[in-house]
Symmetry: C2
Subunit: 107 residues, 2 copies
């Protein structure tokens, strides 16, 4: 199990939670201040306490699935779509690479 496999596992785990999937579905794909999707507004829209949201955002941040920037007092998160697709690709690669090579049939 390589380090990169550990990272893949951690990313899959981060994605494997309904609360976090719901959050991702709400995040824009680019830094976006036009719709006032700062953390507090997002928490209110989702009916989720702000500390709970911040916790999940940290998990997603540490898995490098989301990015963020601060503007004045607000923080804006967005989903790094490429990162998500990359996780999917690396999952497929992992499965392919580890396919045990078939030995000759015992005849």
């Amino acid at each position: 199990m390589t380090d990169s496999d550990d990272i893949l596992a951690r990313q899959l785990w981060a994605l494997g939670d309904t609360a976090r999937l719901r959050i991702l579905a709400r995040l824009p794909r680019n830094p976006d201040c036009k719709h006032r999707n700062n953390v507090s507004q997002l928490a209110e829209d989702m009916g989720m306490p702000q500390p709970t949201l911040s916790h999940h955002l940290r998990v997603l941040r540490q898995a490098e699935l989301v990015s963020y920037k601060r503007m004045c007092r607000d923080v804006y998160y967005w989903l790094d779509e490429n990162a998500a697709h990359d996780v999917a690709k690396r999952l497929c690669d992992y499965v392919k690479e580890h396919a045990p090579k078939e030995e000759a049939d015992v005849t």
Copy 2:
């Protein structure tokens, strides 16, 4: 959050564990009795207690990522490669489908 999103989350979670990723890397892609990869042998090869392995196999089974068949007293598991790829695809689709539609720029 639809039922199918719940299933996706559960599958991603099942994959997001290093022990289970290691197990998947050892499983053949088809029912394969030629290499004696039954549960006990796999447990021994991996240096993992058999109950621990059975536990993880159940998680993978319930996520419909592996299949198995019993032959005599042995049980043979294999990885359903299509299921794994399908999870990857559905993750990509989920991310794409929920991309918030960009409103016209505020000018």
